[in-house]
Symmetry: C2
Subunit: 303 residues, 2 copies
């Protein structure tokens, strides 16, 4: 089934306690579309970059068969840039610099052949833009939305309008607590699902993820990695894998949703094993299925 | 199979954001033995209380068929008392007061008919006492040890000596990080298992638990509770359920260990639903198995 993502396409400067790299390809739509390429044909990307983006970065996306007809290359513009530094525990990070550049007046019109996309993954962006994009999609089968504490704190009324329109919200545990004003994640899930999204995924980093649907709660484990090289993009990768797996099987029920959480988690575990998008560029479907089965093993009780 | 626990027997003053209760029966050995009573006949308790402990508290333990021949009632002594206050999120607490009383010179000799116990659960106590007890048990089949940050910080060399003698260590995630000096729990597990215990359980509160054995990692979910009334004793209850389930099935392998983690988690989920030991006093085996099956459901992927 057709898959569309909208989000940032970025150039990042990344610092971990062990390594520092400048001018690394990044951005939510980048991670989401590259991840989706393992599940669907020609994932559609909507975004904007500047003239500085570079042929090499375009080539990376093209080689993963990403449909770039919705990627605007703004004449005279500069690409969105993010500079982050991870703490020693890799669970926390500081943003040292953000340059919105071409994203500062980004409000895309969706190419007509993108408007029939069936599975839509809204990367973390201003909720007003997310809503404007959603309203241009004719009849999506599933809409999945990411957001972050910045929008919860600065644009809550807009975010709430967007949430009314989406089927799935994917956020992390601290964002869920912030959005719901409840420290208890089960209560938080009830409150957030009442805001619109009937399906909620709460990512908990090293503690895995929770999936809340009408009928049940699913607890997904995290992959036990001894070494995390770079957590950048793990959340976007999760969202991309989750949505694109559902696009591939084109069936939405409690079982496929649970599997989608594990495929999202599996893809995110590959992401953090290398810098930037590197861990996602040369995977085989066999490797992905092996990793998925490792996730099953982590919580299997043989009877 | 026979089951023995040693640990504190206490009278607690408890404060949660919603309620305050004084003179509540508590202590590690109390929670462990009451929990064990659902899995084994006549769990043996080794501990000490003062003359103030009261007939009513003794009656609670007797009604759960706990063998109290190892419970010393110190003439003229006072029972160990703990006063704690939980934060709004229930994940953190402050100790407002600790009175060791009879525990200050507690160093028990194990009654001869207790010395053949096969499954031994060492509640959180001074590691020197834990070791002295262990050395009095003739040939235990499985030894399980709990500890806490206080002993890791103040008696690390003694704790390390004790760890050389135990089969299973059960600690929480912050204690695992402190003991291993590693922020990564997978690395922490490797380091701690090299200290002695071949089996390690890391409890993560609302995030479930991890089981590390020679062969595999198991990730257990947490029960999604909207309301936690009182977390006191949840960790002890987990240890009691874990060890006593293994005593009941009298088989130790990766499958029974995984099930033991879920039974421990199930018992702990009952514990936190009421104040003190109240949630553990009137359970049926059917309720326990239903809760265990809910845990299975939380991570089940139907194929």
């Amino acid at each position: 089934m057709s898959f569309l993502t909208i989000g940032s396409v970025a150039i990042d400067n990344l610092e971990t306690p062990f390594e520092k790299r400048d001018n690394v390809l990044g951005g939510a739509a980048t991670f989401i579309s590259i991840t989706a390429s393992y599940f669907v044909d020609k994932p559609m990307l909507v975004g904007a970059v500047g003239e500085d983006f570079g042929e090499e970065n375009l080539k990376i996306l093209k080689e993963k068969n990403v449909d770039l007809s919705g990627l605007q290359i703004v004449k005279g513009g500069k690409t969105f840039r993010w500079h982050g530094r991870y703490h020693y525990d890799m669970n926390n990070r500081d943003t040292l610099d953000t340059q919105l550049n071409v994203l500062s007046d980004f409000n895309p019109s969706i190419p007509s052949h993108f408007q029939h996309a069936q599975y839509v993954c809204l990367g973390n962006l201003d909720p007003v833009i997310q809503r404007n994009v959603l309203l241009q999609i004719k009849s999506p089968k599933l809409t999945v939305c990411d957001t972050m504490n910045y929008w919860i704190e600065s644009k809550l009324p807009d975010l709430k309008e967007t949430l009314k329109l989406v089927d799935v919200l994917i956020i992390n545990d601290s964002e869920a607590r912030l959005l719901s004003q409840s420290p208890n994640l089960v209560k938080a899930a009830r409150i957030i699902r009442a805001m619109g999204p009937k399906i909620l995924v709460i990512k908990k980093g090293e503690h895995g993820a929770l999936l809340f649907t009408e009928n049940s709660v699913f607890s997904a484990p995290a992959y036990p990695l001894e070494t995390i090289v770079d957590p950048t993009g793990a959340g976007d990768t999760f969202a991309g894998g989750f949505t694109a797996y559902l696009a591939k099987v084109n069936t939405i029920n409690d079982i496929t949703l649970r599997k989608a959480v594990l495929y999202g988690s599996a893809m995110a575990s590959f992401c953090v094993e290398k810098f930037g998008t590197e861990g996602l560029l040369n995977l085989s479907l066999l490797e992905i299925d092996d990793r998925y089965r490792s996730f099953l093993e982590l919580s299997r009780i043989e009877e």
